[in-house]
Amino acid sequence: MKVAIIKYNAGNIFSVDNAMKRIGVEAEITGDAELISKADKVIFPGVGEAETTMRYLREHKLDEVICNLRQPVLGICIGLQLMCKSSAEADNGKVDCLGIFDETVQRFVPTTQISKVPHMGWNTIQPVDGNPLFNGLPRDPYFYYVHSYYATVGPDTIATTDYINPYSAALHKDNFYAVQFHPEKSGQLGEVVLNNFLAM
């Protein structure tokens, strides 16, 4: 199985590669359109800022490459956010993103003193149906999060997390999957999710 990890101007890409190695999969980290298109599975990871990363994807024509993929794709963190319709993480308050999912990305607005932003640490997810991405997980599973922006809840939502407000912990449409949490940093349960994705 050929796994491609999309290389672009976002951080944290190597931690996904390390997680792949731990579960015994050799992945290729690449920004090459052909290698990405030919892979059996594609992972679109990263930590970064939406406007800057979106600009990079367009300049390198990776936006078209990603949208045209037909094999299973897994977006992680900023990957999920960039797969949405738009993000509020921009100088003028809105940047158009890939539009694979219909959701928009908003910034958390703390409602009380106890809700800190960024949302940092381990939180539970509530899967909304029997999506195979979450096969074999216990009830109220914990995953590791670090983010200040979130995707709204809609028809493509396959799991929610409630922090300040309910938002999409995971999205799914056709061959595209995405998670806001970091499976590569979520211990054993994170590896369950990565293995479920690789088994698609």
Binding site: G11, E49, W122, N123, S148, H182, K185, S186, G190
Partner: protein
């Protein structure tokens, strides 16, 4: 529900764990990777590796160690100690660390926080503050592992660190550190209410009740401890079950 975090801290000298413990199921207690992996299996939510090496050779060993940790451990980890400039931050993040903890260098050059946050994002920038409370009640920040007092006070410095882009504050009370009589809950509660970023409490853990207090009275988001975990005084699974029973949101593995 967002869980409160339990974070063991490992002191590293020349690539080896200082004060390593004897867990029955690990062979080399001096190996930070084995010890860190064991803590991860027991349910630690994050790990902190603090480099207390002074030499250049020791530094290189630490960077190699960070690479091994990143390859072998599947929970987030922070590295600190000996970070003076952007180059150090860059080296450690490239080696695979999730966050860096900056202490003295941030007090000497506050613009370092701004630069780290701008280049790598706030989520990697943990600002560690060692402070001591004097008789008048004032909290003074210290440099160099608590050896050199500064002109800065805890609350205004923490606020500035947040404004400069720190993602978290790791506050160690020098009055409470090593005394094992509980955390500096009053100061922690004030920090937590004045800041909008997470606060990690450090210094004073001696009993399981102290962790309950630091999360309730102290309003901390995470609690860090070293010796009580290393010397088996408290086992992480026991601690987490106790806290969960007391109504503190905990991730139980």
């Amino acid at each position: 529900m967002l869980a409160k975090r339990i974070i063991p801290c490992l002191d590293i000298k020349n690539g080896q764990t200082v004060k390593g413990v004897n867990f029955v199921n690990i062979r080399n207690v001096g190996d930070p990777v084995e010890l860190g992996a064991e803590y991860s299996r027991q349910g630690a939510d994050e790990l902190v590796f603090l480099d207390i090496t002074a030499s250049f050779e020791g530094r290189k060993t630490f960077v190699d160690l960070v690479k091994r940790i990143a390859r072998n451990i599947s929970i987030p980890f922070t590295v600190g100690g000996g970070i003076h400039e952007m180059k150090d931050v860059d080296t450690l993040l490239c080696a695979g660390a999730d966050k860096v903890s900056i202490n003295s260098a941030a007090l000497r050059h506050p613009e370092l926080i701004t630069e780290v946050a701008k280049q790598f994002g706030s989520q990697v920038a943990t600002v560690a503050i060692d402070a001591r409370q004097d008789e008048s009640g004032e909290w003074t920040c210290y440099l160099n592992g608590g050896r050199v007092p500064t002109e800065r006070h805890l609350f205004e410095w923490a606020k500035e660190a947040q404004e400069r882009g720190a993602g978290e504050i790791l506050f160690t009370s020098m009055n409470h550190d090593g005394v094992k009589q509980g955390f500096a809950n009053e100061a922690l509660a004030r920090l937590s209410s004045e800041l909008s970023i997470p606060v990690i409490a450090s210094g004073g853990a001696g009993a399981m009740e102290h962790f309950k207090e630091v999360f309730t009275t102290g309003k901390a988001d995470a609690a860090l401890a070293a010796s009580i975990f290393h010397f088996h005084e408290i086992a992480i699974p026991d601690l987490k079950h106790y806290l969960a029973k007391e109504g503190i949101p905990m991730r139980i593995v």
